[in-house]
Subunit: 294 residues, 2 copies
Amino acid sequence: VLVPTEQDRRAAPAGLRVDVYTGDGDPAGDLGDVTFYVLPYARPDAVQLLPGLTGLRAVQLLTAGYEAVQPLLPAGVALHNAAGLHDASTAEMAMALILAAQREVPRWALNQRDGAWQRDFTRSLAGSRVLVVGYGGIGKALEARLLPFEVEVVRVASRARPEERIHGVDELPALLPGADIVALAVPETPATRGLIGGRELALMPDDALLVNVGRGSAVDQAALLAEGGRIRAALDVLRDEPPGPNDPVWTAPGVFFSPHIGGGSATFVPRSRKFIAEQLRRWAAGEALLNRVS
Amino acid sequence: VLVPTEQDRRAAPAGLRVDVYTGDGDPAGDLGDVTFYVLPYARPDAVQLLPGLTGLRAVQLLTAGYEAVQPLLPAGVALHNAAGLHDASTAEMAMALILAAQREVPRWALNQRDGAWQRDFTRSLAGSRVLVVGYGGIGKALEARLLPFEVEVVRVASRARPEERIHGVDELPALLPGADIVALAVPETPATRGLIGGRELALMPDDALLVNVGRGSAVDQAALLAEGGRIRAALDVLRDEPPGPNDPVWTAPGVFFSPHIGGGSATFVPRSRKFIAEQLRRWAAGEALLNRVS
């Protein structure tokens, strides 16, 4: 078994042979002996080990998304994701982005550096109608954090569930014109690619805010920039990460971005350790692992 | 009667003589006729009218704090504040500052301007212990917004009320060493001046966060800067607003500030209009005004 940290190794059950691969350098031991590989978090290069793991039977990702890894696995290797482990961290980042945009935190940071003082009152979050698009773990955690702010939350998911007051994405054209804030927390799937394109952006009111903490592919970024600031945006995920040096997103009016740090803040660490320990216990005991996705 | 906006004038009861004074230029009408003056919000110069208002009987402020205006009023003039009208806006700003600091929004804004990409994972709010110092309207509104973030809120007010789990400020020395975040929402009074000084800062753990949305006087700013970044700070209020051009607060490590915009965001406007309309109705009807403070 390969795990990403020494702490994970120490938490493994006695009798299980466990080595550490942090994503740097070469892993210890014979790669052909590895049956279960827990990939290190936010180290895309860690997949390069996969072709050498000739005895592999199971893979554990520490991300919720698995679209990039699935095609790399031979038939018969079970894939598991980390659904749920990032919900609190990612929903918190969505709130940080929403509040930063409404209360203009990026502007005050730049003003402070410039030695400039402009006491201009801002928008509020209170009184806003917020579309939460994607009503899985992150969407629910975001809704819980939004509600005390005196907002109206409108739930949107891939399929309508009227008994839970959840709208389907096919209702977006009717919902977007009434939205002050549209917060995206959807996985990358064929159905979510380009979910918010030029047509959807055109339906949003002037000065509305688009927030994205899911995957950059959900937004047609060229269409967003073509709005020229009419729609504000606060994005933790982008089409290209990092953007190229000449990407207009760096200087686009009304667009603020952070470097895809929604899911991985400090609160993720204890949740990840606990989860890996449970998966190793199950692996050693021959029980089914949690979160199998394929 | 003098009111700050044309909308306020139009909402006044028939029969009441009302002029508008926005804080710019000279007010219309004979100042000696003014019996009730509603000062415009965030226009400190508006007090300059007071000496000319020889028939004045009542003053309405649109701020919660009244320490600057009270000494300027002749005996017999009733003073009223706007307690409660800013609670939602100010608590929202406190949350914006807390989340911006934990998730490093100012850093990403500066990086975006610099064309720099650093994908470093940050602190979380989740799992933090937050001291809410000042348990009035703003403090309660802040607590309501904090709780869904998986935090522990510790209530602190001027006097302990054990039946409501509220600690007294005299317990701060015992509470500060266990605080991840200290959020100040206290009015300016002799008791709150310098509430957080060198002694209190020294009791806070390394890397703790100090947030202030009340009055700048509650923090000994020189002592804060002397910490050299050991204590992080996110401040909507400062000792001097604006800071002087050579004030070290502009470049202090770990210190972020916004230009005292906590109370005055968009959500304040409808609340203020409704409140002024009610005060004018009471004035015309000869009823006691709300929120008399002296």
